[in-house]
Subunit: 460 residues, 2 copies
């Protein structure tokens, strides 16, 4: 619990109505999408960098942990206040400050919801590609802190590829600008890219300068059903080998298809054991040609059925198949351990076979889908933790899957981050010298360990 004295200081900084120690607020801000719970001692809603600077200076002086958060949609507990202290909610910093059509950049505050920016720039014929599944509610600050990805990343890259500059409050309360608004810039260390994906441990992001692209003129969506996961994987290889990088190359494995078939009205033939959703975008004549080439390349690879969207409604219907996955999974088992491993794309079939073997051995359903184009698989281990032994089995599965991932040259997280859920597994992926190098950075920049303590590998 925080002393009253501290609450009075915070009230002085942000105003009385923007700090709360009420149980309801502490409960509301005690969890994220991992559904773990850790209550903060107080919830604070600052409105600008100056206030955040003062809060952090006070926190350093008093030794109070500070946990920045956006929409709390993270999958690894990055924003959970595991040592109590302050939940620093950034949703009041929600302005799109400017969209510069000449220089193709946008400047936003961290509380802007991703989809909101996308709509604003699309209205001007511009494009902000990163598209995490949470984009309708996740905030750009959270996207930057976690380096969010999404289906379109195979062609367009991830969040870090779009962040040109930041305004950041350092752990000790200085307000700094990193990077800028130019496409090139090499003056000093690239703090911008260091901060992207640092999960709120090295600074609080208060402004973001984002690179935009021209909006592609048209897009074309195809759904292809294969009789095996190998066929789908070969199709991915054939398309990339054919020198086409589609906008999306999403896949669903056989377990996912069963899941969708059992729980929705979508008609998916029994013979289908893998699905690819392939989208291409750009010049309308070019994408017609690319779609033709793609179908020619994949056809010999065990295709059960193909559906090429004739218009945007049909495209939407195809994406509905993908979107039905998460809701339909909930019916398999009540509890989900959701990982997002990433392997070099050519190792995808090997990885899926390994996961299937682990699922068979442990007798727990594992549903795999995700971004085949960049080898990023969402592995969903479905258990009922109320049943004895199930949680343990899930943990064994996770460990075996991570080990296999690393053996194939992959990483245990493509886009969700480490947070608290993956922290125990870090020594499997990073060697001690690399962890020491990272810890030295954290310690240098946050000597009192105030900002988001206990996260990533930075266990206290």
């Amino acid at each position: 619990m925080l002393e009253n004295r501290i609450i009075r200081i915070i009230e002085g900084i942000v105003g009385e109505q923007h700090v709360s120690t009420a149980d309801t607020d502490r409960l509301c801000y005690s969890y994220d999408a991992t559904q773990r719970q850790h209550r903060p001692d107080a919830v604070v809603w600052p409105s600008n960098a100056k206030e955040i600077s003062l809060l952090l200076k006070m926190a350093n002086a008093e030794g109070i942990p500070v946990y920045p958060r956006g929409a709390g949609s993270g999958f690894t507990g990055g924003s959970l206040p595991i040592h109590g202290g302050l939940a620093l909610v950034l949703t009041r910093l929600d302005a799109i400050l400017r969209i510069d059509e000449e220089n193709l950049i946008a400047e936003v505050e961290p509380g802007v919801v991703t989809r909101q920016l996308q709509k604003a720039v699309e209205a001007l014929g511009l494009f902000y590609p990163p598209d995490p599944a949470s984009l309708k509610f996740s905030t750009l600050g959270g996207n930057v802190a976690e380096c969010a990805g999404g289906p379109r990343c195979v062609k367009y890259g991830v969040t870090k590829d779009y962040v040109l500059g930041l305004e950041v409050v350092t752990p000790q309360g200085d307000i700094i600008r990193t990077g800028g608004e130019t496409m090139k810039g090499v003056v000093g260390y690239d703090l911008t890219k260091l901060l992207v994906g640092s999960e709120g441990t090295l600074g609080v992001i208060t402004k973001i300068i984002l690179k935009l692209l021209p909006l592609p003129a048209a897009k074309k969506t195809m759904l292809v059903l294969f009789d095996s996961i190998d066929g789908a994987a070969q199709a991915v290889a054939a398309i990339i080998g054919g020198k086409i990088i589609p906008t999306t190359l999403e896949f669903m494995d056989g377990t996912t298809i069963d899941c969708v078939r059992r729980n929705t009205d979508l008609e998916l033939p029994q013979a289908a054991r893998a699905v690819l959703i392939i989208e291409v975008d750009g010049d309308s004549a070019l994408i017609e040609k690319q779609a033709e080439t793609i179908l020619k390349l994949v056809n010999p690879l065990g295709v059960v059925n193909t559906w090429v969207a004739a218009n945007s409604e049909e495209s939407e219907a195809i994406w509905q198949v993908r979107r039905s996955v998460s809701p339909s999974m909930r019916k398999v088992n009540p509890d989900k351990f959701n990982e997002d491993i990433c392997v070099p794309r050519s190792r995808l079939p090997e990885m899926i076979r390994t996961i299937e073997a682990i699922s068979d051995k442990l007798q727990i359903p594992i549903v795999n889908f995700g971004h085949a184009g960049d080898g990023n698989i969402h592995v969903n281990i479905m258990v009922d933790t109320a049943e004895p032994g199930q949680e343990q089995k899930a943990k064994q599965a996770i460990e075996e899957i991570f080990a296999a991932t690393l053996k194939l040259g992959g990483t245990m997280s493509g886009e969700h981050g480490v947070g608290v859920t993956k922290a125990p597994y870090i020594p499997m992926e990073l060697d001690p010298a690399a962890v020491a190098y990272m810890k030295a950075i954290k310690k240098a920049l946050d000597p009192n360990n105030i900002l988001n303590p206990g996260k990533i590998f930075l266990q206290d």
Copy 2:
């Protein structure tokens, strides 16, 4: 001078024939493209990470500065051994370790020459876009350390956009791997991107994993002469506004044209006061269409003449105009102060006008050309330092140009880095808190200040 004892240790690590204290070698490795001279006490040519690790451990124990270098083609003195010690030459680490056509990645050692990798991947229908002007002799290690750019960056981005992972020897001699070979990866801090552009101050790069793209099917080159720099700048805005991002948008100002005209056989009409070289690449039908659109967009903007290359020979002839700039400049005045400021592209005409005013005021020729697409201008201040007062005038010009650049939202370096030449101007661009944050990183990772001391803003 180093004690004999130290030389014996180094010989023990790298072999007698791979270390030298001969005056000739110390002279050869005393300069880079800035033509400043600082002699190292010894030159060492290690062959692998293990040797570099041992050298750095010894250097820490003995307090000897270590200056890594590739081809020494840097423009800001990043590799100059300004405190003596060891010149650590990385050219023996020159293997292309693998080109993975399925996963579109290459793994290389730092001593591989940029063009050599490009040729190797192009032979397989693949593409490594970054194209610094030095690509025929600069090494990939140097490109990564400086975050090299080039004309194609307007469409394809800079070196950092292609570096997926590194093997690095830390300043204290640990060998670590950062990033990996997947397109996505968010486990721990993004050390890869922190190291790119850190100018050899945070680690010695010993392996690089690079992302590749499919080689564009075709390209089309156009040279357009304008009657004013404003016409050329409006053309850039019109093209980007027309939702086309060309591969290159290179410009040359009136002074550059005069220079080329006086010193080569190239025919450039007197009315031409600015040139744009515009190249588009991709699908052959699409680029024809884009070229047509571009010509339609730029035609009303004071076009004096247009030359569309009909084939690769004509394209080569157009690029010859650009390549003739540097040699022809040498005839203007013997000494060149070469800066590479970058402004938001819409501020280009304002920036050029400001530079022209400074040139008029100080009565020294300033030749401007560069990458209009990303606002990156190569500003060449031409003086004769043998004449009294000229060097001082050049320095005044640089300071005024930097001030104007920053006022327009730009940066003093788009691709050349800080090194030693720009270090004195750092306080103009970065605020003290940002510099302190960077210095804290350097100090944490290199506590004995062994690796490339005295560089960037990290003055001792």
